[in-house]
């Protein structure tokens, strides 16, 4: 199988996807755009993790799964690891990336804070999709306090 190999392509494609989804929506459909991007991400995360873990053994527990997301998954997608992982041991995990790849092209500081959600919906969906396929149902949200740092909060859904 031929291999494409460049990270730049993925980044540019993501920018275009965000642009496209927002181009074809009205001003009052913003939430709808975010949901669409999230579900695209979900789909990608789901199929990607299936290919990643094809030859690996079962994860020990939830924390082990999270570590996989922070290290291997993050490394393959964004070429770096999550900088900090925290948990309250009650089903909430916070993944902090101090230099999130999709935000590095936006100027630092507060000026463009309002556009950040656009670029975080797809990554959130990817995390949710990856976890879903590893048997963990979750809700994933992202929070930015200063670009390009970003926190992803994963809330495990147990039902």
């Amino acid at each position: 199988m031929a291999q494409l190999s460049d990270a730049v392509l993925f980044e540019y494609l993501h920018i275009e996807i965000v642009g496209y989804i927002h181009r074809c929506a009205d001003e009052n459909e913003k939430d709808h755009c975010i949901a669409k991007l999230e579900s695209l991400g979900f789909r990608v995360g789901q199929s990607l993790v299936e290919r990643f873990t094809r030859e690996s053994t079962r994860f020990k527990d939830e924390l082990d799964t999270m570590k996989f997301i922070c290290k291997d998954f993050w490394n393959s997608v964004y070429r770096k690891q999550i900088d900090n992982l925290r948990t309250n041991h009650q089903g909430v995990y916070v993944l902090q990336d101090n230099k999130f790849r999709f935000l590095t092209q936006i100027s630092n500081g507060k000026q463009y804070m309002d556009v950040a959600p656009k670029f975080l919906a797809f990554p959130c969906g990817m995390i949710r999709g990856a976890l879903a396929n590893l048997g963990v149902n979750s809700v994933v949200t992202a929070e930015v306090s200063a670009m390009p740092a970003c926190k992803f909060q994963i809330q495990i859904q147990r039902t």
């Binding site: 199988m1 031929a2 291999q3 460049d6 392509l9 199929s47 990607l48 690996s56 393959s76």
Partner: protein
């Protein structure tokens, strides 16, 4: 910890799959949004164009190629350097027109279509149309207007995927897109 090492995927390989899968999700979304294949082709080309316009800078910065003297040299650079760098494949340049202004890129394994099967009823869809747009956008940034289209596509049962590039004209004073 042998388990860790067996789990860690080769990042290069995975990154390729990531792009392929993301692109697939995009095309699926487009097909949902527009029922008309031609419109999907147009959208893909437009996005490709935007990518190409940016990508050329990355390409020139990293590849260290110098100015091409003729279109044949350009064709070689596209096939041997650009495609290799970004898609990991090297298409064959062939079918030159007599005037030397038109050629084909023959792609054996198009990585964009690795996991793809076209459903029935999409005979007009050019799944990888993003490539046409990207080539057009990138070439425009080096003052060449070209026409790019798919002639054959393995997804549609052809033996090979063939992209046809036609040189239209040299752009003398490059005006940024959208400002002319």
């Amino acid at each position: 910890m042998s388990r860790q090492s067996s789990r860690a995927p080769d990042p290069r390989k995975v990154n390729g799959e990531l792009f392929t899968l993301t692109y697939g999700a995009l095309v699926a979304q487009l097909l949902k949004d527009y029922e008309d294949d031609d419109e999907v082709n147009r959208q893909l080309e437009k996005m490709g164009y935007n990518i190409g316009v940016r990508l050329i800078e990355d390409f020139l910065a990293r590849s260290n190629v110098s100015r091409c003297n003729d279109f044949r040299e350009t064709a070689d650079q596209i096939a041997k350097v650009a495609f290799k760098m970004y898609l990991g494949v090297t298409p064959v340049v062939s079918n030159w027109s007599a005037a030397g202004d038109e050629f084909s890129l023959l792609i054996e394994n198009n990585p964009l279509t690795d996991f793809v099967e076209l459903p029935d009823g999409h005979t007009d869809l050019n799944y990888s149309n993003l490539l046409c747009g990207a080539l057009k956008g990138a070439m425009e940034m080096v003052q060449m207007e070209v026409d790019v289209k798919f002639v054959q596509d393995q997804l549609k049962g052809d033996n090979i995927t063939e992209l046809r590039l036609k040189f239209i004209r040299r752009l003398e004073d490059a005006v940024p897109a959208g400002e002319d």
